[in-house]
């Protein structure tokens, strides 16, 4: 059965999830990446959209803008790690519950997720058209002067996903765990190649 989170997301919903779970999201999500994080955390501005119990999506969409309304062409996650230095403060200030992005995030975000009952999930990178098809409407747009990729787009979504829980509210961090596993295999994978290039400096 599909696990579907619905906004507003409560702390109990978050606590029921663990790293590696696959979930979908129904309700409202708001895009925000480098510039939105900088404004909220470094410049002390309040997010125009109230993110309390809400969802922030590290993403910059392509939107066809016209007087008749905004049409979403494609949207997909961007690398969350760029927001690592600001995310913990962002969670604390906004009360956001779900962060969606691409790739893992670091220990500061993981600690904030545990403390404030939030999660980080990864959406499929580079699957922008499928994702756009799960967005029912663009409901609003704030801070448009930041440029199309950087501003806040408010989107109504239905069963948006699949999303993989990468940081849970119990201290788990999927990407950090995986990275350690990959690192443990590195020496063994390198060894035969190092052996084979040993004589490459010899003049032919």
């Amino acid at each position: 059965m599909k696990k579907v989170l619905t906004t507003p997301v409560r702390a109990e919903d978050i606590e029921a999830l663990h790293i590696g779970d696959i979930v979908y999201l129904t309700g409202t999500l708001v895009t925000g990446r480098d510039d939105v994080h900088r404004r909220v955390v470094s410049e002390g501005m309040a997010s125009p959209y109230d993110l309390h119990d809400g969802v922030i999506f590290h993403a910059g969409p392509i939107v066809r803008e016209s007087a008749g309304g905004n049409e979403l062409i494609s949207v997909g996650p961007t690398s969350s790690v760029r927001m690592e230095s600001l995310e913990a403060a962002f969670i604390e200030k906004t009360g956001v519950r779900v962060i969606i992005g691409k790739g893992g995030m670091g220990p500061a975000t993981a600690a904030a997720c545990q403390k404030f009952k939030a999660i980080h999930c990864v959406a499929m990178g580079g699957c922008a058209v499928s994702a756009a098809c799960q967005v029912e409407a663009i409901e609003d747009c704030f801070w448009r002067e930041l440029g199309m990729p950087e501003c806040e787009w408010v989107m109504r979504v239905k069963e948006f996903g699949p999303l993989v829980v990468s940081i849970d509210a119990h201290g788990g961090n999927l990407y950090a765990e995986n990275k350690a596993k990959y690192a443990a295999r590195k020496d063994a994978c390198e060894a035969p190649i190092l052996e084979s290039v040993k004589d490459y400096m010899v003049v032919e």
Binding site: G60, T78, S79, K102, A132, G147, M148, P162, E190
Partner: protein, 299 residues
């Protein structure tokens, strides 16, 4: 044909070419991606690859860019010295990018330094980025167009080593770049390795490496072996699509080299994501043209 007329043809054809190239993968990359999918066994990887192929199908059917990050536009140009309209090329490519930004549409990604303004049409200071190779013979203009997304630019790097570090330094450098940095670049990747003598020549070569058509290999047998060994080694790390556990972090590893200084070994690593959006198109001196990256597709 005047320079102006040739420029108009180039602008028009390149705009249409870009509109295709951002919406589907070149045939060789699509086929390679299918092979990678077949190598994956886990449920999670199956879900990811299903998303990849579902997305590619929808992108083409709906006529939309397959990834929202349509990047910055790079053109790698090989131009025969006898091609008559060289002067028309740069302005035509700039205009084609600006027009494709509206017509594809491409995401507005281009920000000038210091003004920090998004230019709105993906042209800007020295952007699109052009790299010219002038060939001593011939009159064809071959253009390789590439959409450089941010996620796959982030892991890129280059470094200069001492000869005493040997080829082992190259191997370790590639492993570090891929295993530590490239997980977020939407694997399976095409890994470009450039071997040169200083930092920027190695970096340029790493770019040329990943633009090379799939199925080609380094001309020297040891270079070709290094490509195969690195591919097998990287794919042994246990990393799959989206950097999550799996079998294939790389679709292919390509190595390009120049001669080196006797006292340096320089390595560049550049990766491209699973949506490897690069297309080749060739114009002849009468401005007729052909492309074979997308067989059976008319622009």
């Amino acid at each position: 044909m005047t320079n102006k007329e040739a420029g108009a043809v180039l602008t028009d054809v390149m705009e249409r070419f870009l509109c295709v190239a951002c919406k589907r993968l070149p045939d060789d990359v699509y086929e390679k991606l299918r092979q990678c999918r077949a190598a994956e066994t886990s449920e999670l990887q199956r879900v990811i690859y299903d998303s990849y192929f579902d997305n590619l199908r929808r992108a083409w059917e709906m006529g939309r860019p397959c990834c929202q990050d349509t990047g910055l536009l790079h053109f790698y140009i090989r131009c025969g010295a006898d091609f008559p309209y060289m002067g028309a090329v740069e302005p035509a490519l700039r205009l084609a990018v600006a027009r494709a930004t509206a017509s594809a549409p491409l995401r507005e990604n281009t920000v000038d330094y210091f003004t920090e303004r998004n230019t709105g049409d993906n042209t800007g200071e020295r952007m699109p980025w052009l790299h010219w190779d002038i060939l001593p013979e011939g009159s064809d203009l071959e253009i390789c167009a590439y959409f450089a997304g941010a996620g796959c630019c982030l892991p890129g790097r280059a470094q200069v080593f001492k000869p005493a570090d040997g080829y082992g330094a190259i191997v370790k450098y590639v492993f570090d770049a891929v295993a530590d940095l490239a997980l977020n670049a939407c694997p399976p990747l095409i890994v470009g390795v450039g071997l040169g003598h200083n930092v920027e020549n190695a970096a340029v070569l790493s770019k040329m490496a990943y633009l090379r058509p799939l199925g080609t290999s380094h001309p020297h047998p040891k270079g070709a072996k290094l490509e195969r060994d690195l591919l097998a080694g990287l794919n042994g790390l246990g990393i799959g699509a989206q950097g999550l556990p799996g079998e294939r972090v790389a679709m292919e590893v390509h190595v390009e080299s120049s001669a080196r200084h006797t006292a340096t070994i320089a390595v560049g690593v550049n990766v491209s994501c699973y949506t490897h959006r690069r297309g080749f198109i060739t114009f002849h001196e009468d401005m007729s043209w052909e492309q074979d990256s997308y067989k059976g597709v008319s622009l």
